[in-house]
Symmetry: C3
Subunit: 158 residues, 3 copies
Amino acid sequence: MDPNKKTLIVFSGDLDKAIAAFILANGAAAMGNDVTMFFTFWGLNIIRRPEKVRVKRSPLQAMFAGMMPRGAQRLGLSKMNFAGLGPVLMKRVMRNANISSLSELIEIAREQEITMVACSTSMEVLGLAKEDLIDGVEIAGVATYFEYADNANVNLMV
Amino acid sequence: MDPNKKTLIVFSGDLDKAIAAFILANGAAAMGNDVTMFFTFWGLNIIRRPEKVRVKRSPLQAMFAGMMPRGAQRLGLSKMNFAGLGPVLMKRVMRNANISSLSELIEIAREQEITMVACSTSMEVLGLAKEDLIDGVEIAGVATYFEYADNANVNLMV
Amino acid sequence: MDPNKKTLIVFSGDLDKAIAAFILANGAAAMGNDVTMFFTFWGLNIIRRPEKVRVKRSPLQAMFAGMMPRGAQRLGLSKMNFAGLGPVLMKRVMRNANISSLSELIEIAREQEITMVACSTSMEVLGLAKEDLIDGVEIAGVATYFEYADNANVNLMV
């Protein structure tokens, strides 16, 4: 076990939880930790490309993929979403307070070489392919998660 | 602390989170870990028997117990539930992708001898008795949780 | 790493999750652990003062601060909230079962000298100031969290 390794499972695709996850991950990385983020289920939406991607999907997969938000700019809040107004206001408050936006936080995570892993099982369930995700994301399963978690001293799930 | 022990608190009773919890637990067990799952609050609904059970409950407890879903087949999704349509579609997508259903995941967990513990305090709050739960579930409190967690190297909460 | 230290990130401001967090924290403390709770995002609402507080806020911050619940008495449930009826019924069930209310659980946490930390970044986003919070809460950022988490053997996020 290495006191300088951390992992974070990001299950939620809510804007507020995504922000919290990246603030934790970036903070840990800035303190010299190797950080690995595992995106699973709705959390995969955080690392989707904003543009529509042509991928072979079953009708049901296409339905899920089509209804879920594509990327950091389109996420809703877990509370006080108000049909999309909440996120707009929260982004504005964050900008006013000079806090990085989620897109910026993701960029910082990449600059800090945080390892981002997408859960292969969830991708199949939700009909997402590698092409749907932003660059630099690895795809792996639960065994890979525990290999990382076994070597980390702080493991969280959001 | 034992690098081959893991614990998972399952607070949520959402189908998607329950699936994630059991995929994590079963994956860890398949890798040779002793896994303990603690079901608390709505998470107790995952391990409820599907049939109605006659148990002495106060009127308020009966109300909570009566309105909550009974078991893995009746859970809703945390997102895109669409009044019960979402779970139906998700189950179909999972079957198409040859991913085990939640009921099968629970069965696998039992075959792998994952320890399942129901939180006694939550059971009292929600009006659930031992008879309401599937076989093989122990009942214990927070002290038992920490005894397990203190000896595990990965502790998560869903 | 100290086997007698625990941390808990409280992201959620739901009554049920707040109760779970404090039962875990108080249980750990009763077993002789040093426990630190980090309140972030909606979790800050759990430790807000019940009364209105006059603080300088931007109009947007005032809006968020104005709409969010002030303190343990006003939180909703994550499930079965029924426009505020759910929490009333849950409080009654808990009282009948002789389980401490959330306000009492917070009081017990203080008596057990559980360290409560409010996340400075979230406070800015949601427009909350030190004056908005109950007494005895420290304010700190993500670096402080990891200093505590690095020294603890169980770290959870609710």
